[in-house]
Subunit: 380 residues, 2 copies
Amino acid sequence: MDVVGIVTEYNPFHNGHLYQVNEVKKRFPDAVIIVVMSGNFLERGEPAILDKWTRAREAILNGVNLVVELPVAFCVQPADFFAFGALRILKELGVQKLVFGAENEEYNFAEMAEITKRVHGNFSTYNESYAKAYQRAITEKTGVDVSKPNNLLGLAYARANLKLGSFLELVPIQRRAAAHHDQQLPITSRIASASAIRDAALNRQESVANHVPHLTAVDLQQGKTLSWVDFWPLLKYQILTSNVQELREIYGMTEGLEFRIKDKLERMGPAVTFNDWISEVKSKRFTYTHMTRIATMILLQAKNEDIEEVEQKPYIRILGFDIKGQNHLNSVKKKLLFPVVSRVSQKVAANLLKLDYRAGLVYSQFSGQRQDFGRSPFQQ
Amino acid sequence: MDVVGIVTEYNPFHNGHLYQVNEVKKRFPDAVIIVVMSGNFLERGEPAILDKWTRAREAILNGVNLVVELPVAFCVQPADFFAFGALRILKELGVQKLVFGAENEEYNFAEMAEITKRVHGNFSTYNESYAKAYQRAITEKTGVDVSKPNNLLGLAYARANLKLGSFLELVPIQRRAAAHHDQQLPITSRIASASAIRDAALNRQESVANHVPHLTAVDLQQGKTLSWVDFWPLLKYQILTSNVQELREIYGMTEGLEFRIKDKLERMGPAVTFNDWISEVKSKRFTYTHMTRIATMILLQAKNEDIEEVEQKPYIRILGFDIKGQNHLNSVKKKLLFPVVSRVSQKVAANLLKLDYRAGLVYSQFSGQRQDFGRSPFQQ
């Protein structure tokens, strides 16, 4: 039986994701599909529109067999680090094939990874001006333009795979229609970018029913949809009451950013919005996404040691499964080196899952739903 | 010319306060009336219903000549410490008489202070069970019941006065009508307790027009009225993202309270209210007010050294004055040992006024009005 992995955010689960799951089933009819999904805070430094339990349920009910959470320490990160955290889990779970969308499915990602093996990033100071330099270096080495976001992510998977002993067969699938950053819901296609769907859902101006499975439409309609607008008062308060020494301890806080972050906010006054503040603190060196990631790290009070602990002590947090996923899990369980967390105890919350637990506490302030204690995986 | 002092919170300025000011004018017709008023966080561990600028303006327009802010380090404290902070400022400003309301104006507060000189409190662990023991000790020594809140406060003024060299003549004025903790607006009297007025104003169920001067009624109608309901999300977030070591650094956090505070909150889930949480963490030893004061200290991230700094480096922060008040200020200015702060510079915000500045930043998140930069005293 094929064991196929997908790395994703499902923010939220839309028709493009469904198309991908169905494509996997077409190509690998007997496959068990394992998804590593970001939790409540995401790669571009923002809260998820719906909580991880809701999104995991959407995935399972749309054909995914097992959903595992990517620890937040890896979620709010640049592509290489994000990919490494996810693939490490997939490897442990016996995944053999990785399916991912790419703007150019004809690229040989494995080869590109081999060629660019010696291009390294300093992930503790992740910043986009580095990202640009990185893209240029890759293009110089491979002759291929990887500036498109899904191609770049594909390369990140390929590089992580190489690092982890090339356990995966890489299966890029041509992305349909929507460009990653399209802000409009297309009229002629049922596939839209996740970000266009979020915009529409958050502003409640347009129906997203044509662009997401029914279940997602209901979740977006009935559930608590969250964004930085909700968490901004907490972040603002945190920055205003922290001193610069405390801010300096936050993961990714380099080159005196703590002064800039605090000073700009105090000067801008109490009515400032999240976007206005980010626009004020970003720069050529520290781009929008760099700053939103740091903003998330401040919000979660994530320090260097919090991230390092997760790097050093991996675990597998189960969010949902169906029978097929459960059977697979049972079949690999005895060989697993990483602890499996299905229910969170006090002890696990205080140790192994410390940062995820804290992120869940913060997220639950607005989602209204507990994220850990008392929650068990969704079972279909 | 008489220089008369009043120590108050004006939360908000009501008919009882107006009666007191008019009573001073009747007894001391030429007096300059100087008020030391708490800022945006108050003795019982709660945010002020209206910001300090609004309340200072109410005071000046109702006949007070000069309003000086009591630093927050002294505001959110038991009576003795509160009184000491306030009287230290009044002494510096040349005040000779202290007027205060008492349930029993016939008490000889100065004598009671003399008799109880050796009854001490440990103010760094202020707690109400101490408070009860303290009241009993006082009653044993003086034969007088000081359990009524204004009598007890009067004794605190008398004790602070004794400590500061008995510079003041104490002038208790019989309190009219409303008991301090009455929760109903009385129909037959135009004087109500501040707490009944706040309740009515916050819930917008009843008009307070009969119980406050016109200006206060307008302020309550048009201004932003704040309570713990507003600040609770910030406090909750702070507790959830702080670890116990960080909580332990907060002023007044003793005997492992940090564990209790954090643990109860996590167990109660995201929907818990401020009052529910306080009810859960309070105990016989740590009463409601003890816990709301600690809650305020956490909200403001006030540490021991923040409080000590203000104790050691007093200052006079001017919130408002009329001509008479300004003339008095000018006449004493040259002799003052404490720095006078009329406008807050970056330097003053970062040093002398650090804690007040931080409290202002927090308060302004909901009042919407800056509390420091760009603000100058109200002038009538």
